[in-house]
Symmetry: C2
Subunit: 319 residues, 2 copies
Protein backbone atom coordinates (compact mmCIF):
# COMPACT_ATOMS: atom_id res chain seq x y z
CA UNK A 1 0.00 0.00 0.00
CA UNK A 2 3.06 2.26 0.17
CA UNK A 3 4.74 4.39 -2.48
CA UNK A 4 3.81 7.50 -4.46
CA UNK A 5 1.72 5.60 -7.03
CA UNK A 6 0.37 2.89 -4.73
CA UNK A 7 -1.37 0.63 -4.97
CA UNK A 8 -1.64 0.84 -8.80
CA UNK A 9 2.11 0.82 -9.65
CA UNK A 10 2.87 -1.79 -7.00
CA UNK A 11 0.15 -4.13 -8.21
CA UNK A 12 1.19 -3.68 -11.85
CA UNK A 13 4.79 -4.49 -10.90
CA UNK A 14 3.73 -7.55 -8.91
CA UNK A 15 1.65 -8.80 -11.85
CA UNK A 16 4.63 -8.29 -14.18
CA UNK A 17 6.80 -10.25 -11.73
CA UNK A 18 4.30 -13.12 -11.51
CA UNK A 19 4.14 -13.31 -15.32
CA UNK A 20 7.94 -13.55 -15.32
CA UNK A 21 7.73 -16.53 -12.94
CA UNK A 22 8.13 -14.91 -9.52
CA UNK A 23 5.89 -15.93 -6.63
CA UNK A 24 4.38 -12.83 -5.05
CA UNK A 25 1.99 -12.19 -2.18
CA UNK A 26 0.41 -8.73 -2.05
CA UNK A 27 -0.36 -7.49 1.45
CA UNK A 28 -2.98 -4.76 1.67
CA UNK A 29 -6.60 -3.76 1.49
CA UNK A 30 -8.25 -6.52 -0.52
CA UNK A 31 -11.09 -4.23 -1.63
CA UNK A 32 -8.60 -1.87 -3.28
CA UNK A 33 -6.26 -4.53 -4.65
CA UNK A 34 -8.73 -7.01 -6.20
CA UNK A 35 -10.11 -4.64 -8.89
CA UNK A 36 -6.54 -3.99 -10.08
CA UNK A 37 -5.73 -7.69 -10.59
CA UNK A 38 -6.06 -9.53 -13.91
CA UNK A 39 -8.04 -12.77 -14.14
CA UNK A 40 -5.01 -14.91 -14.80
CA UNK A 41 -1.45 -14.80 -13.51
CA UNK A 42 -2.39 -12.92 -10.38
CA UNK A 43 -0.36 -12.64 -7.18
CA UNK A 44 -1.90 -13.95 -3.94
CA UNK A 45 -3.46 -11.38 -1.65
CA UNK A 46 -3.22 -11.28 2.14
CA UNK A 47 -5.72 -8.82 3.52
CA UNK A 48 -4.54 -6.01 5.76
CA UNK A 49 -7.00 -3.19 6.28
CA UNK A 50 -4.52 -0.61 7.62
CA UNK A 51 -1.74 1.26 5.82
CA UNK A 52 1.07 3.42 7.15
CA UNK A 53 1.12 6.81 5.39
CA UNK A 54 4.28 8.49 4.08
CA UNK A 55 4.17 11.01 6.93
CA UNK A 56 3.36 8.57 9.75
CA UNK A 57 5.98 8.28 12.48
CA UNK A 58 7.42 5.27 14.34
CA UNK A 59 4.66 5.35 16.96
CA UNK A 60 2.00 4.59 14.35
CA UNK A 61 3.99 1.56 13.18
CA UNK A 62 4.40 0.32 16.75
CA UNK A 63 0.68 0.65 17.52
CA UNK A 64 -0.82 -0.69 14.30
CA UNK A 65 0.15 -4.34 14.42
CA UNK A 66 -2.23 -5.04 11.53
CA UNK A 67 -0.68 -2.45 9.20
CA UNK A 68 0.28 -3.97 5.84
CA UNK A 69 4.04 -3.48 6.36
CA UNK A 70 3.86 -5.32 9.68
CA UNK A 71 1.74 -8.13 8.28
CA UNK A 72 4.31 -8.52 5.48
CA UNK A 73 7.14 -8.77 8.02
CA UNK A 74 5.06 -11.34 9.90
CA UNK A 75 4.88 -13.53 6.77
CA UNK A 76 8.67 -13.49 6.62
CA UNK A 77 9.00 -14.23 10.32
CA UNK A 78 6.60 -17.20 10.02
CA UNK A 79 8.47 -18.55 7.01
CA UNK A 80 5.49 -18.00 4.72
CA UNK A 81 7.51 -15.58 2.57
CA UNK A 82 11.25 -15.58 1.90
CA UNK A 83 11.50 -11.78 1.89
CA UNK A 84 9.45 -8.60 2.30
CA UNK A 85 9.45 -5.76 -0.26
CA UNK A 86 8.17 -2.29 0.65
CA UNK A 87 8.10 0.87 -1.48
CA UNK A 88 6.42 2.87 1.27
CA UNK A 89 7.63 4.99 4.17
CA UNK A 90 11.27 3.94 4.70
CA UNK A 91 11.28 4.77 8.39
CA UNK A 92 8.16 2.68 8.89
CA UNK A 93 9.73 -0.25 7.05
CA UNK A 94 12.78 -0.02 9.31
CA UNK A 95 10.72 0.09 12.49
CA UNK A 96 8.47 -2.78 11.35
CA UNK A 97 11.52 -4.90 10.46
CA UNK A 98 13.11 -4.25 13.86
CA UNK A 99 9.87 -4.98 15.72
CA UNK A 100 8.87 -8.13 13.84
CA UNK A 101 12.16 -9.63 12.58
CA UNK A 102 14.56 -8.36 15.22
CA UNK A 103 18.09 -7.03 14.87
CA UNK A 104 20.88 -9.44 13.91
CA UNK A 105 23.61 -10.29 16.43
CA UNK A 106 26.40 -7.74 16.54
CA UNK A 107 24.40 -5.09 14.69
CA UNK A 108 23.57 -1.72 16.28
CA UNK A 109 20.95 -0.66 13.71
CA UNK A 110 19.88 -2.13 10.37
CA UNK A 111 20.98 -0.06 7.35
CA UNK A 112 19.99 0.14 3.70
CA UNK A 113 22.81 -1.00 1.39
CA UNK A 114 22.89 0.08 -2.27
CA UNK A 115 25.24 -1.36 -4.87
CA UNK A 116 26.52 1.23 -7.37
CA UNK A 117 28.54 0.72 -10.55
CA UNK A 118 32.01 2.28 -10.45
CA UNK A 119 33.96 3.94 -13.25
CA UNK A 120 36.67 1.24 -12.95
CA UNK A 121 34.12 -1.53 -13.60
CA UNK A 122 33.86 -2.57 -9.96
CA UNK A 123 30.94 -2.26 -7.59
CA UNK A 124 30.50 0.04 -4.61
CA UNK A 125 28.42 -0.96 -1.59
CA UNK A 126 27.05 2.24 -0.05
CA UNK A 127 25.36 2.21 3.35
CA UNK A 128 23.33 3.63 5.00
CA UNK A 129 21.34 4.79 1.99
CA UNK A 130 18.47 6.20 4.00
CA UNK A 131 17.23 4.11 6.93
CA UNK A 132 18.80 6.10 9.80
CA UNK A 133 18.98 9.89 9.42
CA UNK A 134 20.76 10.56 12.69
CA UNK A 135 23.54 8.15 13.66
CA UNK A 136 25.97 7.77 16.49
CA UNK A 137 29.59 6.89 15.56
CA UNK A 138 29.07 3.38 16.99
CA UNK A 139 26.20 2.86 14.54
CA UNK A 140 28.36 3.95 11.60
CA UNK A 141 31.04 1.50 12.74
CA UNK A 142 28.41 -1.23 12.81
CA UNK A 143 27.41 -0.29 9.22
CA UNK A 144 31.01 -0.91 8.20
CA UNK A 145 30.84 -4.49 9.52
CA UNK A 146 27.50 -5.05 7.77
CA UNK A 147 28.86 -3.57 4.53
CA UNK A 148 31.96 -5.78 4.56
CA UNK A 149 29.86 -8.89 5.23
CA UNK A 150 27.57 -7.94 2.33
CA UNK A 151 30.46 -7.19 -0.04
CA UNK A 152 31.98 -10.57 0.80
CA UNK A 153 28.62 -12.27 0.26
CA UNK A 154 28.59 -10.58 -3.17
CA UNK A 155 31.93 -12.21 -3.92
CA UNK A 156 34.36 -9.35 -3.24
CA UNK A 157 37.60 -10.33 -1.53
CA UNK A 158 39.09 -8.22 1.26
CA UNK A 159 36.68 -5.34 0.71
CA UNK A 160 38.23 -1.93 1.38
CA UNK A 161 36.13 0.34 3.60
CA UNK A 162 35.97 4.11 3.15
CA UNK A 163 34.24 6.66 5.38
CA UNK A 164 32.35 9.25 3.33
CA UNK A 165 33.83 12.69 3.95
CA UNK A 166 34.46 16.09 2.41
CA UNK A 167 38.22 15.49 2.21
CA UNK A 168 40.57 12.56 2.46
CA UNK A 169 42.79 13.79 5.27
CA UNK A 170 42.08 12.27 8.71
CA UNK A 171 41.10 15.61 10.20
CA UNK A 172 38.52 16.34 7.52
CA UNK A 173 34.83 15.65 8.05
CA UNK A 174 32.22 16.82 10.51
CA UNK A 175 32.21 15.85 14.18
CA UNK A 176 30.42 12.60 13.41
CA UNK A 177 33.01 11.53 10.81
CA UNK A 178 35.97 12.52 12.97
CA UNK A 179 34.56 10.47 15.86
CA UNK A 180 33.85 7.47 13.62
CA UNK A 181 37.20 7.05 11.83
CA UNK A 182 39.10 5.85 14.96
CA UNK A 183 36.30 3.37 15.72
CA UNK A 184 36.53 1.93 12.19
CA UNK A 185 40.29 1.51 12.58
CA UNK A 186 39.74 -0.68 15.66
CA UNK A 187 37.62 -3.19 13.71
CA UNK A 188 38.99 -6.34 12.01
CA UNK A 189 38.38 -4.83 8.54
CA UNK A 190 40.49 -3.08 5.89
CA UNK A 191 39.96 0.69 6.29
CA UNK A 192 41.30 3.11 3.66
CA UNK A 193 40.20 6.21 5.60
CA UNK A 194 38.06 9.18 4.57
CA UNK A 195 36.88 9.04 0.96
CA UNK A 196 35.24 11.75 -1.16
CA UNK A 197 32.38 10.85 -3.54
CA UNK A 198 34.33 11.09 -6.82
CA UNK A 199 37.15 8.90 -5.48
CA UNK A 200 34.61 6.33 -4.29
CA UNK A 201 32.95 6.26 -7.71
CA UNK A 202 36.36 5.75 -9.30
CA UNK A 203 37.19 2.77 -7.07
CA UNK A 204 39.03 4.07 -3.98
CA UNK A 205 36.98 1.71 -1.81
CA UNK A 206 34.50 -1.18 -2.07
CA UNK A 207 32.31 -0.22 0.89
CA UNK A 208 31.37 3.39 1.61
CA UNK A 209 29.98 4.18 5.05
CA UNK A 210 27.81 7.18 5.94
CA UNK A 211 24.65 8.08 7.82
CA UNK A 212 21.31 7.60 6.11
CA UNK A 213 20.69 11.31 5.60
CA UNK A 214 23.97 12.00 3.82
CA UNK A 215 23.85 8.69 1.93
CA UNK A 216 20.40 9.46 0.63
CA UNK A 217 21.46 12.97 -0.45
CA UNK A 218 24.53 11.52 -2.21
CA UNK A 219 22.45 9.00 -4.17
CA UNK A 220 19.80 11.52 -5.13
CA UNK A 221 22.41 14.13 -6.12
CA UNK A 222 24.10 11.60 -8.39
CA UNK A 223 20.74 10.57 -9.82
CA UNK A 224 19.69 14.19 -10.39
CA UNK A 225 23.01 15.10 -11.99
CA UNK A 226 22.88 12.16 -14.37
CA UNK A 227 19.32 12.98 -15.40
CA UNK A 228 20.25 16.63 -16.00
CA UNK A 229 23.31 15.66 -17.99
CA UNK A 230 21.52 13.18 -20.22
CA UNK A 231 18.81 15.79 -20.90
CA UNK A 232 21.33 18.49 -21.82
CA UNK A 233 23.30 16.07 -23.96
CA UNK A 234 20.23 15.11 -25.96
CA UNK A 235 19.55 18.79 -26.54
CA UNK A 236 23.13 19.47 -27.62
CA UNK A 237 23.13 16.58 -30.06
CA UNK A 238 19.83 17.72 -31.50
CA UNK A 239 21.30 21.19 -32.06
CA UNK A 240 24.71 20.20 -33.33
CA UNK A 241 24.27 17.13 -35.49
CA UNK A 242 22.55 17.79 -38.81
CA UNK A 243 19.21 16.08 -39.32
CA UNK A 244 18.27 12.92 -37.53
CA UNK A 245 21.59 11.14 -38.04
CA UNK A 246 23.10 12.14 -34.71
CA UNK A 247 19.98 11.45 -32.69
CA UNK A 248 19.66 8.06 -34.34
CA UNK A 249 23.29 7.16 -33.71
CA UNK A 250 23.05 8.30 -30.13
CA UNK A 251 19.79 6.73 -29.12
CA UNK A 252 21.13 3.22 -28.74
CA UNK A 253 24.22 4.39 -26.92
CA UNK A 254 22.29 6.54 -24.46
CA UNK A 255 19.82 3.79 -23.71
CA UNK A 256 22.40 1.10 -23.08
CA UNK A 257 24.42 3.46 -21.03
CA UNK A 258 21.45 4.54 -18.86
CA UNK A 259 20.74 0.92 -18.24
CA UNK A 260 24.28 0.41 -17.09
CA UNK A 261 24.49 3.51 -14.95
CA UNK A 262 20.90 3.68 -13.67
CA UNK A 263 21.42 4.34 -10.01
CA UNK A 264 18.15 2.69 -9.15
CA UNK A 265 18.29 -0.07 -11.75
CA UNK A 266 17.82 -2.63 -9.00
CA UNK A 267 14.49 -1.01 -8.16
CA UNK A 268 15.34 -1.43 -4.52
CA UNK A 269 18.03 -1.95 -1.96
CA UNK A 270 18.45 -4.44 0.85
CA UNK A 271 17.81 -3.50 4.45
CA UNK A 272 20.70 -5.31 6.12
CA UNK A 273 21.01 -6.33 9.74
CA UNK A 274 17.54 -7.64 10.58
CA UNK A 275 16.45 -11.22 11.20
CA UNK A 276 14.92 -11.56 7.72
CA UNK A 277 15.33 -10.41 4.14
CA UNK A 278 13.80 -6.98 3.50
CA UNK A 279 14.00 -4.95 0.27
CA UNK A 280 13.26 -1.23 0.39
CA UNK A 281 11.92 -0.05 -2.96
CA UNK A 282 12.10 3.44 -4.41
CA UNK A 283 9.26 5.68 -3.14
CA UNK A 284 8.62 6.67 -6.76
CA UNK A 285 8.61 3.04 -7.86
CA UNK A 286 7.07 2.26 -11.25
CA UNK A 287 6.06 -1.29 -12.24
CA UNK A 288 9.51 -2.09 -13.66
CA UNK A 289 11.20 -1.00 -10.43
CA UNK A 290 8.76 -3.09 -8.38
CA UNK A 291 9.51 -6.12 -10.54
CA UNK A 292 13.26 -5.53 -10.08
CA UNK A 293 12.79 -5.21 -6.31
CA UNK A 294 11.01 -8.57 -6.26
CA UNK A 295 13.84 -10.13 -8.29
CA UNK A 296 16.43 -8.72 -5.86
CA UNK A 297 14.50 -10.21 -2.93
CA UNK A 298 14.13 -13.64 -4.58
CA UNK A 299 17.77 -13.75 -5.75
CA UNK A 300 19.05 -12.76 -2.30
CA UNK A 301 16.97 -15.53 -0.78
CA UNK A 302 18.17 -18.14 -3.29
CA UNK A 303 21.76 -17.14 -2.62
CA UNK A 304 21.26 -17.65 1.10
CA UNK A 305 22.29 -14.07 1.79
CA UNK A 306 20.88 -13.98 5.31
CA UNK A 307 22.95 -16.97 6.47
CA UNK A 308 26.06 -15.73 4.69
CA UNK A 309 25.71 -12.33 6.34
CA UNK A 310 25.14 -13.69 9.80
CA UNK A 311 28.08 -16.10 9.51
CA UNK A 312 30.50 -13.39 8.32
CA UNK A 313 29.19 -10.91 10.84
CA UNK A 314 29.48 -13.45 13.63
CA UNK A 315 33.09 -14.24 12.71
CA UNK A 316 34.07 -10.59 12.97
CA UNK A 317 32.00 -9.73 16.03
CA UNK A 318 33.59 -12.61 17.96
CA UNK A 319 37.06 -11.24 17.12
CA UNK B 1 50.60 28.68 -1.76
CA UNK B 2 47.48 26.54 -1.25
CA UNK B 3 45.96 23.82 -3.42
CA UNK B 4 47.01 20.35 -4.52
CA UNK B 5 49.31 21.59 -7.32
CA UNK B 6 50.50 24.78 -5.67
CA UNK B 7 52.28 26.91 -6.32
CA UNK B 8 52.80 25.81 -9.97
CA UNK B 9 49.13 25.60 -11.05
CA UNK B 10 48.21 28.77 -9.16
CA UNK B 11 51.05 30.77 -10.71
CA UNK B 12 50.25 29.45 -14.19
CA UNK B 13 46.61 30.45 -13.73
CA UNK B 14 47.57 33.89 -12.45
CA UNK B 15 49.85 34.42 -15.45
CA UNK B 16 47.05 33.35 -17.79
CA UNK B 17 44.71 35.81 -16.04
CA UNK B 18 47.23 38.67 -16.34
CA UNK B 19 47.64 37.94 -20.05
CA UNK B 20 43.85 38.17 -20.37
CA UNK B 21 43.92 41.62 -18.79
CA UNK B 22 43.30 40.86 -15.10
CA UNK B 23 45.33 42.54 -12.39
CA UNK B 24 46.69 39.92 -10.02
CA UNK B 25 48.89 39.99 -6.92
CA UNK B 26 50.40 36.68 -5.85
CA UNK B 27 50.94 36.31 -2.10
CA UNK B 28 53.50 33.74 -1.09
CA UNK B 29 57.11 32.72 -0.75
CA UNK B 30 58.94 34.95 -3.26
CA UNK B 31 61.81 32.48 -3.57
CA UNK B 32 59.41 29.79 -4.78
CA UNK B 33 57.20 32.02 -6.91
CA UNK B 34 59.77 34.07 -8.84
CA UNK B 35 61.32 31.15 -10.77
CA UNK B 36 57.85 30.23 -12.03
CA UNK B 37 57.11 33.68 -13.45
CA UNK B 38 57.67 34.68 -17.08
CA UNK B 39 59.71 37.78 -17.96
CA UNK B 40 56.76 39.70 -19.32
CA UNK B 41 53.12 39.86 -18.29
CA UNK B 42 53.82 38.79 -14.75
CA UNK B 43 51.57 39.26 -11.70
CA UNK B 44 52.91 41.33 -8.79
CA UNK B 45 54.27 39.38 -5.82
CA UNK B 46 53.77 40.19 -2.14
CA UNK B 47 56.15 38.14 -0.04
CA UNK B 48 54.81 35.95 2.73
CA UNK B 49 57.18 33.32 4.08
CA UNK B 50 54.57 31.14 5.81
CA UNK B 51 51.93 28.86 4.32
CA UNK B 52 48.99 27.06 5.95
CA UNK B 53 49.03 23.38 5.04
CA UNK B 54 45.93 21.41 3.95
CA UNK B 55 45.82 19.66 7.33
CA UNK B 56 46.46 22.70 9.53
CA UNK B 57 43.65 23.62 11.92
CA UNK B 58 42.14 27.00 12.91
CA UNK B 59 44.71 27.55 15.65
CA UNK B 60 47.55 27.66 13.12
CA UNK B 61 45.69 30.33 11.13
CA UNK B 62 45.04 32.37 14.24
CA UNK B 63 48.70 32.26 15.33
CA UNK B 64 50.42 32.79 11.98
CA UNK B 65 49.49 36.35 11.15
CA UNK B 66 52.08 36.37 8.37
CA UNK B 67 50.66 33.28 6.62
CA UNK B 68 49.93 33.93 2.95
CA UNK B 69 46.15 33.57 3.30
CA UNK B 70 46.12 36.16 6.09
CA UNK B 71 48.36 38.57 4.19
CA UNK B 72 45.99 38.27 1.22
CA UNK B 73 42.99 39.10 3.43
CA UNK B 74 44.98 42.06 4.78
CA UNK B 75 45.40 43.41 1.23
CA UNK B 76 41.60 43.32 0.83
CA UNK B 77 41.03 44.93 4.20
CA UNK B 78 43.48 47.75 3.37
CA UNK B 79 41.83 48.34 0.00
CA UNK B 80 44.96 47.27 -1.88
CA UNK B 81 43.05 44.40 -3.52
CA UNK B 82 39.37 44.20 -4.42
CA UNK B 83 39.10 40.52 -3.55
CA UNK B 84 41.08 37.55 -2.24
CA UNK B 85 41.24 34.18 -4.04
CA UNK B 86 42.40 31.03 -2.23
CA UNK B 87 42.60 27.46 -3.54
CA UNK B 88 44.07 26.21 -0.26
CA UNK B 89 42.63 24.84 2.98
CA UNK B 90 38.97 25.97 2.98
CA UNK B 91 38.69 26.03 6.76
CA UNK B 92 41.80 28.21 6.95
CA UNK B 93 40.40 30.60 4.35
CA UNK B 94 37.18 30.89 6.37
CA UNK B 95 39.02 31.55 9.62
CA UNK B 96 41.37 34.08 7.99
CA UNK B 97 38.41 35.91 6.41
CA UNK B 98 36.58 36.09 9.75
CA UNK B 99 39.71 37.25 11.59
CA UNK B 100 40.85 39.85 9.10
CA UNK B 101 37.69 40.99 7.29
CA UNK B 102 35.08 40.38 9.97
CA UNK B 103 31.57 38.99 9.68
CA UNK B 104 28.86 41.09 7.98
CA UNK B 105 25.97 42.49 10.04
CA UNK B 106 23.14 40.00 10.56
CA UNK B 107 25.26 37.02 9.55
CA UNK B 108 25.95 34.13 11.95
CA UNK B 109 28.72 32.50 9.91
CA UNK B 110 30.04 33.14 6.39
CA UNK B 111 29.13 30.42 3.89
CA UNK B 112 30.38 29.33 0.48
CA UNK B 113 27.76 29.88 -2.23
CA UNK B 114 27.93 27.95 -5.51
CA UNK B 115 25.78 28.70 -8.54
CA UNK B 116 24.68 25.58 -10.43
CA UNK B 117 22.89 25.27 -13.76
CA UNK B 118 19.40 23.77 -13.55
CA UNK B 119 17.65 21.46 -15.99
CA UNK B 120 14.96 24.13 -16.55
CA UNK B 121 17.56 26.68 -17.67
CA UNK B 122 17.56 28.56 -14.38
CA UNK B 123 20.30 28.86 -11.78
CA UNK B 124 20.51 27.34 -8.33
CA UNK B 125 22.37 29.07 -5.49
CA UNK B 126 23.60 26.35 -3.13
CA UNK B 127 25.03 27.21 0.28
CA UNK B 128 26.93 26.24 2.35
CA UNK B 129 29.11 24.40 -0.14
CA UNK B 130 31.83 23.55 2.34
CA UNK B 131 32.88 26.29 4.78
CA UNK B 132 31.09 25.03 7.92
CA UNK B 133 30.92 21.27 8.45
CA UNK B 134 28.89 21.40 11.67
CA UNK B 135 26.07 23.93 11.80
CA UNK B 136 23.42 24.96 14.29
CA UNK B 137 19.90 25.56 12.89
CA UNK B 138 20.33 29.32 13.47
CA UNK B 139 23.38 29.26 11.19
CA UNK B 140 21.44 27.47 8.45
CA UNK B 141 18.70 30.12 8.76
CA UNK B 142 21.34 32.80 8.37
CA UNK B 143 22.59 31.04 5.20
CA UNK B 144 19.06 31.35 3.80
CA UNK B 145 19.17 35.13 4.22
CA UNK B 146 22.63 35.28 2.63
CA UNK B 147 21.51 33.08 -0.25
CA UNK B 148 18.44 35.19 -0.98
CA UNK B 149 20.51 38.39 -0.92
CA UNK B 150 22.99 36.79 -3.33
CA UNK B 151 20.28 35.46 -5.65
CA UNK B 152 18.73 38.94 -5.76
CA UNK B 153 22.13 40.48 -6.46
CA UNK B 154 22.41 38.03 -9.39
CA UNK B 155 19.13 39.42 -10.73
CA UNK B 156 16.64 36.78 -9.55
CA UNK B 157 13.28 38.11 -8.34
CA UNK B 158 11.57 36.70 -5.24
CA UNK B 159 14.00 33.80 -4.93
CA UNK B 160 12.37 30.63 -3.55
CA UNK B 161 14.30 28.98 -0.71
CA UNK B 162 14.46 25.21 -0.22
CA UNK B 163 16.00 23.29 2.67
CA UNK B 164 18.01 20.30 1.46
CA UNK B 165 16.47 17.09 2.77
CA UNK B 166 15.91 13.41 2.06
CA UNK B 167 12.20 13.94 1.45
CA UNK B 168 9.85 16.82 0.81
CA UNK B 169 7.42 16.27 3.69
CA UNK B 170 7.90 18.57 6.69
CA UNK B 171 8.74 15.69 9.01
CA UNK B 172 11.51 14.37 6.76
CA UNK B 173 15.14 15.24 7.38
CA UNK B 174 17.57 14.68 10.21
CA UNK B 175 17.31 16.51 13.56
CA UNK B 176 19.19 19.50 12.14
CA UNK B 177 16.80 19.88 9.19
CA UNK B 178 13.69 19.41 11.30
CA UNK B 179 14.90 22.12 13.70
CA UNK B 180 15.79 24.49 10.86
CA UNK B 181 12.59 24.46 8.80
CA UNK B 182 10.46 26.33 11.39
CA UNK B 183 13.23 28.96 11.72
CA UNK B 184 13.26 29.50 7.94
CA UNK B 185 9.49 29.98 7.94
CA UNK B 186 9.85 32.83 10.44
CA UNK B 187 12.12 34.82 8.11
CA UNK B 188 10.90 37.44 5.59
CA UNK B 189 11.74 35.16 2.65
CA UNK B 190 9.82 32.82 0.37
CA UNK B 191 10.28 29.25 1.71
CA UNK B 192 9.13 26.26 -0.36
CA UNK B 193 10.04 23.72 2.35
CA UNK B 194 12.22 20.62 2.22
CA UNK B 195 13.67 19.90 -1.22
CA UNK B 196 15.44 16.77 -2.51
CA UNK B 197 18.47 17.09 -4.81
CA UNK B 198 16.76 16.05 -8.08
CA UNK B 199 13.87 18.48 -7.52
CA UNK B 200 16.34 21.29 -6.79
CA UNK B 201 18.25 20.54 -9.99
CA UNK B 202 14.96 20.64 -11.91
CA UNK B 203 13.99 24.06 -10.54
CA UNK B 204 11.92 23.51 -7.37
CA UNK B 205 13.83 26.35 -5.69
CA UNK B 206 16.35 29.10 -6.44
CA UNK B 207 18.31 28.91 -3.19
CA UNK B 208 19.16 25.58 -1.56
CA UNK B 209 20.30 25.66 2.07
CA UNK B 210 22.36 22.97 3.80
CA UNK B 211 25.36 22.59 6.06
CA UNK B 212 28.83 22.67 4.53
CA UNK B 213 29.46 18.96 4.98
CA UNK B 214 26.31 17.82 3.20
CA UNK B 215 26.59 20.59 0.58
CA UNK B 216 30.13 19.55 -0.26
CA UNK B 217 29.11 15.88 -0.53
CA UNK B 218 26.20 16.85 -2.80
CA UNK B 219 28.44 18.83 -5.15
CA UNK B 220 31.13 16.18 -5.27
CA UNK B 221 28.58 13.40 -5.81
CA UNK B 222 27.09 15.30 -8.74
CA UNK B 223 30.58 15.99 -10.12
CA UNK B 224 31.61 12.35 -9.71
CA UNK B 225 28.42 11.05 -11.31
CA UNK B 226 28.77 13.37 -14.30
CA UNK B 227 32.39 12.36 -14.84
CA UNK B 228 31.49 8.67 -14.63
CA UNK B 229 28.61 9.14 -17.03
CA UNK B 230 30.59 11.06 -19.64
CA UNK B 231 33.30 8.40 -19.48
CA UNK B 232 30.84 5.55 -19.95
CA UNK B 233 29.07 7.40 -22.74
CA UNK B 234 32.30 7.90 -24.66
CA UNK B 235 32.99 4.18 -24.34
CA UNK B 236 29.47 3.26 -25.51
CA UNK B 237 29.70 5.54 -28.53
CA UNK B 238 33.07 4.12 -29.43
CA UNK B 239 31.63 0.61 -29.28
CA UNK B 240 28.34 1.26 -31.01
CA UNK B 241 28.97 3.77 -33.77
CA UNK B 242 30.90 2.38 -36.71
CA UNK B 243 34.27 3.95 -37.40
CA UNK B 244 35.15 7.45 -36.37
CA UNK B 245 31.88 9.05 -37.47
CA UNK B 246 30.13 8.84 -34.13
CA UNK B 247 33.10 10.00 -32.10
CA UNK B 248 33.56 12.92 -34.49
CA UNK B 249 29.90 13.92 -34.34
CA UNK B 250 29.86 13.61 -30.58
CA UNK B 251 33.07 15.36 -29.73
CA UNK B 252 31.72 18.86 -30.24
CA UNK B 253 28.50 18.12 -28.42
CA UNK B 254 30.23 16.59 -25.41
CA UNK B 255 32.64 19.48 -25.16
CA UNK B 256 30.05 22.22 -25.35
CA UNK B 257 27.88 20.34 -22.95
CA UNK B 258 30.64 19.81 -20.40
CA UNK B 259 31.32 23.49 -20.57
CA UNK B 260 27.71 24.20 -19.82
CA UNK B 261 27.31 21.65 -17.06
CA UNK B 262 30.75 21.73 -15.52
CA UNK B 263 29.97 22.00 -11.84
CA UNK B 264 33.22 23.80 -11.22
CA UNK B 265 33.24 25.85 -14.41
CA UNK B 266 33.51 28.99 -12.31
CA UNK B 267 36.76 27.70 -10.88
CA UNK B 268 35.61 28.91 -7.51
CA UNK B 269 32.74 30.02 -5.36
CA UNK B 270 32.15 33.11 -3.27
CA UNK B 271 32.54 33.07 0.50
CA UNK B 272 29.56 35.21 1.45
CA UNK B 273 29.01 37.08 4.70
CA UNK B 274 32.42 38.55 5.44
CA UNK B 275 33.50 42.19 5.26
CA UNK B 276 35.27 41.67 1.93
CA UNK B 277 35.11 39.71 -1.29
CA UNK B 278 36.64 36.24 -0.99
CA UNK B 279 36.65 33.50 -3.64
CA UNK B 280 37.35 29.93 -2.57
CA UNK B 281 38.90 27.98 -5.42
CA UNK B 282 38.80 24.26 -6.00
CA UNK B 283 41.51 22.41 -4.07
CA UNK B 284 42.38 20.59 -7.29
CA UNK B 285 42.51 23.84 -9.21
CA UNK B 286 44.27 23.78 -12.58
CA UNK B 287 45.41 26.99 -14.33
CA UNK B 288 42.07 27.42 -16.14
CA UNK B 289 40.14 27.12 -12.88
CA UNK B 290 42.45 29.65 -11.22
CA UNK B 291 41.88 32.07 -14.10
CA UNK B 292 38.11 31.61 -13.77
CA UNK B 293 38.30 32.18 -10.01
CA UNK B 294 40.13 35.47 -10.64
CA UNK B 295 37.45 36.48 -13.16
CA UNK B 296 34.69 35.68 -10.66
CA UNK B 297 36.44 37.83 -8.04
CA UNK B 298 36.94 40.78 -10.43
CA UNK B 299 33.40 40.59 -11.84
CA UNK B 300 31.86 40.43 -8.37
CA UNK B 301 33.87 43.50 -7.41
CA UNK B 302 32.88 45.44 -10.54
CA UNK B 303 29.24 44.61 -9.91
CA UNK B 304 29.47 46.01 -6.39
CA UNK B 305 28.36 42.68 -4.96
CA UNK B 306 29.51 43.43 -1.43
CA UNK B 307 27.40 46.60 -1.17
CA UNK B 308 24.42 44.94 -2.82
CA UNK B 309 24.60 42.04 -0.39
CA UNK B 310 24.95 44.18 2.70
CA UNK B 311 22.06 46.41 1.62
CA UNK B 312 19.70 43.52 0.94
CA UNK B 313 20.81 41.70 4.06
CA UNK B 314 20.33 44.85 6.15
CA UNK B 315 16.81 45.34 4.80
CA UNK B 316 15.77 41.85 5.86
CA UNK B 317 17.61 41.74 9.17
CA UNK B 318 15.91 45.00 10.25
CA UNK B 319 12.51 43.40 9.53
Amino acid sequence: MGGDDAPEAIVAGAVEAVRAGERVVLVGDRARLEPLLPRRGRPDVVHSPVAIAMDDGPVAVRRRENASVRVAMGLVKDGRACAAVSCGNTGATLVAAILDLGVADGVERPAIATVLPRADGGRLVLLDAGANVDCRPEQLASFALLGVAYAEALGMRNPRVGLLSNGEEDRKGNMQVRATLPLLRELPILVVGNVEPPAAMEGACDVLVCDGFVGNILLKAAEGAVTTVVGLLREEVRRSVPGMTGAFLLRGAIERFRDRVAWDAHGGALLLGTGGLVVVGHGRANPVAVHRAVELARRSSEQGLLDALSKRLGDRVSR
